[in-house]
Symmetry: C2
């Protein structure tokens, strides 16, 4: 397309048909299992893309920052889950959003946070709904699904000025699974942890309106979602090399790349120097401990065709160094100064975060859009 | 200060007196050696800070993107060096800046680039000045100072429509030096490579108006700069853990930190969970191969006092996990939910790049400013 050639490099390119295909694949899967998807906005973070992620303004959405919640609420989206442990300092912004008609739920995993939330609601004559975070695999936060503290926290919220609305868990350790069996086990374990928690609550008569689970690897491997009210996932929208390494997608499913220009040859060292460093690619090395370490990204031609042995092996601020790996040599004539290459990201959330805008191409219907990313907290 | 407590976390804080002290330290050193500093704008990238970096609008400055050059030229700064290998696609923006009165010089290291530049200048009835990049330590781009291609490139420019104005080298490998002797050697080697290149050019009667060298580690270790017309450095303005690890600064000289809030305790695992993940800290692991690996950053109290054994060991998008290292335990009572900590960056350029704004405090005269960062390319 003419437009892509006119843009200065480096820039973040979205292949729109691939993006839409990724969205459809997961929503079909989750809806096919009888539950609903609550997409995580943290990956795409653009209101220009929101119509594709959320069918309507009441569609459930997950955010990782209050800033995203504010942007979505401002556009009229109402069913928002802020899925990072709440701190007192963020509550007034949540209250303000709720007072304007949004329903922003918060997350917590301790009596202390529940007390803080109750106190804030009492002091501010408001009621904020909370989910309790359950730890299903030791990845980050949350309490054990069998921990009696779960009931105590739920009761504290139910008896106080805040609201208890359910539980949430996230199988973050699924990122370390590399075969279908362990992925299915991780998915099953995530479901079971959520159900254990709800069972414990039900045993004392506490209902869970929301039973929220999800991570991109597990979301693609659920077999049965009975008792689960929603699934969260984010990076599935773009996909990336980490997800390809885990086996969740193919390289061709990666909808995002950084377009870069060859600005130097170091023939003695076998280096192509390009104008995409970590400012454009991010410093994310998410494939470092995977069976295939992709450096700072794999290289494709402009038609999306992967160049087997080339990867970005070094990233400085505005320079990337591309080398052939596996004992291959670069044929420098194939990559003259000024030629353009695409770098597939290790971690699309991280690479997207380095860009204010995405350049979105639909090669099928020959359209081009610019999507603006919401920045900050 | 009241203001710092009112800001939502995470945010990027600049300790202004420390920042000013870092600037003064290097400019005094370089001026004391009889040459001038051409600060690299890529670290700070804020026009709000420019008055501290550049004494006046004719002060020399280095940039790593055309976007920075445009921002500076728009403010009237004229002496700009774009220190990334030039590609044809960026030349029209350089021409536009020069036609408005700026003098933006470009960098190249091949006959092919010199031909492209000449052709562009001929076609556009303009003349753009170039420096030739010299490779002093095998770090990235450039040609060997003794390579006869240097004379060929210079002559091609001199005989063509572009201009040849001198040479540039960068001791990027100095980042792998960990003692004073090797730092001094790296600094001396950088100077010598530059002088070798100018000697080769002089031998055929070609003068170098500009002999530009620099990296933050070497810049602090030059002994003699005879024959060098300018020194470039960027990260010295903020400093960071990588620089402290190399021994260029002390921890107390680090002028930048990310302020974060404790949002969770995992007492079983010995984890403090904070609201600064890689979105706020960057994924940079620049200390990974240093004698002291600082994870994703070291932790200080709000008064800047370092907490000896705490570091961010894991960074997710909006979560950081802080652990005590060296066999120590965290006393959780010291870090209640809601308490604030500061994270010192591995690499200040990378951490600053994650933020649209810097919150700049002068604890001495109790002033507060917001500096806006220039984003994109």
């Amino acid at each position: 397309m003419e437009k892509v050639r006119g843009l200065d490099t480096p820039f973040f390119l979205v292949n729109k048909p691939t993006f839409l295909n990724n969205l459809a694949r997961l929503s079909n899967k989750i809806e096919g299992l009888g539950t609903s998807l609550r997409p995580h906005f943290k990956t795409v973070r653009s209101l220009d893309a929101i119509q594709y992620l959320l069918p309507d303004k009441t569609s459930p959405v997950t955010v990782s920052t209050v800033k995203e919640a504010e942007a979505l609420a401002n556009e009229g989206y109402s069913d928002i889950l802020y899925a990072v442990g709440i701190s007192a300092s963020k509550l007034s912004r949540i209250r303000d959003l709720n007072s304007k008609g949004a329903k922003v739920r918060v997350l917590l995993d301790s009596m202390e946070q529940a007390q803080i939330l109750n106190q804030f609601c009492q002091d501010n004559h408001c009621s904020i709904a909370a989910l309790v975070e359950i730890d299903c695999d030791g990845h980050r936060g949350g309490i054990n699904p069998n921990d009696p503290a779960l009931i105590q926290i739920a009761l504290l919220l139910l008896d106080g000025f805040a609201q208890f609305q359910g539980i949430l868990t996230h199988a973050g350790e699924s990122y370390h699974c590399f075969d279908q069996i362990s992925l299915r086990e991780s998915a099953k374990n995530e479901v079971e942890a959520a159900l254990k928690a709800t069972k414990q609550l039900r045993s004392v008569g506490i209902a869970c309106e929301i039973v929220s689970i999800g991570s991109t690897p597990t979301a693609h491997h659920y077999q049965n979602l009975d008792g689960i009210t929603e699934v969260r996932a984010g990076v599935y929208a773009f996909f990336d090399l980490v997800m390809a390494g885990i086996g969740i997608c193919n390289i061709n499913d990666i909808a995002a790349s950084v377009v870069t220009t060859v600005i130097g040859h170091n023939k003695d060292k076998g280096w192509l120097i390009v104008d995409a460093g970590w400012m454009a690619l991010s410093s994310d090395r998410g494939t470092e401990n995977q069976p295939r370490d992709c450096g700072y990204g794999l290289v494709t031609k402009c038609d999306g065709k992967q160049i087997g042995d080339l990867q970005v092996t070094t990233a400085n601020q505005e320079h990337g160094i591309i080398e052939a790996v596996n004992g291959c040599d670069i044929n420098f004539e194939d990559y003259p100064l000024g030629c353009r290459l695409h770098i597939l990201p290790n971690h699309a959330c991280a690479t997207a975060s380095m860009h204010k805008q995405y350049h979105v191409f639909d090669t099928q219907d020959q359209t081009y859009d610019v999507w603006t990313r919401i920045q900050g907290w």
